[in-house]
Amino acid sequence: MLKVTDLQAGYGGSVVLHSLSLQVGEGESVVVLGPNGHGKTTLLRAISGLIRPTSGVVEFDGQVISNQRASDVVAAGLIHIPQGDLPFPELTVMENLLMGAYRPEAWRERKRKLEQVFELFPVLAERPNQLARSLSGGERRMLALGRGLMSKAKLLMIDEPSLGLAPFLIEDVYQTIRNIRKTGLSILLVDENADHIEGLADRVYLLESGTLVKEGSVEVMLQDEALLAAYLG
């Protein structure tokens, strides 16, 4: 479904990712693990079109998207839930969610989508008229996920869902992502450690210094504690 081949990307003159290749199959859930500063966020930004790759090819659903604008990538059904949530601070929870359904094909179904999202995130259903800037960290994370689900997503890319959250909230967030996965959506998640990916990932990649160094099924990878320790510390 998603196929990345020899991707190279960076900012200004500096190269962050080089010759990176990965695949996510239909309905598959893939996790990329890597330490901070090794290119996880850059990888997602290059796929979603926020930055333009300097070389390499990204294919999604059979079409090449590496030369397309971010809005076209969204239209194709590839949705990126960014690091730090990036809510629209002066819009309400409801308005934030509606913006997730901005594309015409999603906008037509926004009422039905809203019901689904509110069912998945009761915490959002309780405060539709609250401004996003006054939400707590956990609520913001739920809003970011909910906003992503308002689209006609086929594949959800999630950037470090535990970042900056209080420990007691983190398991909640991963449980929600497991629930999202059960709906049949493909998932590409990047994370700093392997603590929460059991029951979530089918396959795991290890990222180091801008390239993928190891790949395997989640069972095999999680058993190899020495390997994980060496890469993730």
């Binding site: 969204v74 809510p87 629209f88 913006m99 689209s151």
Partner: protein, 292 residues
């Protein structure tokens, strides 16, 4: 007592005009983080086109005004498509775009000078005449301006809060990366913002050309006042700008009535300086965010 009513009426009238002018500046700032110094020349375009339709083509008032607004919106659209969209994403976009808009203003004002000549023009008021109440002389045209401005500002607020495109404009202003990740086409949104902003400047020009004289550079003063209003209200904040427009309008009118017309402008700028020292981001400002 008469002075008080005079000041209140004058303040609301000024506030309406400043609101129309300033809201466009603030929308453009919010979406693009760009200072549009061609805003005053769009005012002039609206005024001249409405004047032409009314006096040369002998059209009725309403269609003439509509033509003025549409013409200004189209010129704004052209500025965006021909100049600003090409500068997006360049380093030092802010400076480049600001200088580009100064260039556009010079071109537009020179074109008006070539077409209409240096002699000032004045439009007949929509409803001539006046009445006197509470010791204040109220021109019907003044009421037309107040009502038209209020209707436009309410419609604009509804558009921004309720419609898909309006929400998208706010989304782009508040969190550009997230807006792109929602699939909002940013360049299209910028272009819509610019056209709306220009149309509002055009409307101000249309309405005011029956109060003040119309000349190629007549938009400069309203633009400077609108700049004071936007800075006071907080750059990028629609709510803050509407509040600020009426506060500044009332302040100006009170200064004029109680201290004399000569105090109005220095008083305003003094007020703005104090305001900026106490609250640098204005009433509801979004502050300085670098992102283009």
């Amino acid at each position: 007592m008469e002075k008080l009513f005079q000041a209140i009426y004058g303040g609301i009238l000024y506030g309406s005009i400043y609101g129309l002018m300033a809201i466009g500046l603030t929308l453009v700032w919010g979406a693009l983080r760009m200072l549009n110094l061609a805003h005053g020349s769009l005012y002039v375009v609206g005024g001249y086109v409405a004047w032409t339709a009314l006096n040369e083509w002998a059209l009725p008032a309403l269609p003439s005004f509509a033509l003025g607004v549409i013409a200004a919106a189209l010129v704004g659209l052209l500025i965006q498509v021909l100049l600003i969209n090409r500068l997006l994403g360049r380093p030092s976009f802010f400076n480049a775009a600001m200088i580009a808009t100064v260039g556009a203003a010079i071109v537009i004002e020179s074109a008006m000078l070539l077409i209409y000549g240096p002699r000032v023009k004045q439009m007949a008021p929509v409803i001539p005449g006046h009445f006197k109440t509470l010791g204040v002389v109220i021109q019907y045209q003044g009421l037309v301006i107040i009502v038209a401005a209020a209707i436009s500002l309410v419609l604009l607020s509804l558009f921004l809060r309720k419609s898909r495109y309006g929400l998208a404009i706010q989304a782009v202003s508040q969190q550009m990366d997230a807006a792109r990740l929602m699939g909002i086409p940013t360049v299209l949104t910028f272009t819509i913002v610019m056209a709306i902003s220009a149309g509002l400047a055009g409307l101000a020009g249309v309405l005011l050309s029956s109060v003040f004289y119309l000349a190629p550079t007549a938009g400069f003063n309203p633009m400077v006042k609108a700049l004071v209003v936007t800075i006071f209200g907080g750059l990028g904040s629609v709510k803050g700008t509407i509040w600020a427009a009426y506060v500044i309008g009332l302040l100006e009118a009170f200064l004029q009535v109680y201290f004399g017309a000569g105090w109005a402008l220095p008083g305003l700028f003094l007020f703005m300086m104090i305001m900026l020292i106490i609250r640098p981001t204005g009433l509801f400002g979004m502050g300085e965010v670098q992102r283009l």
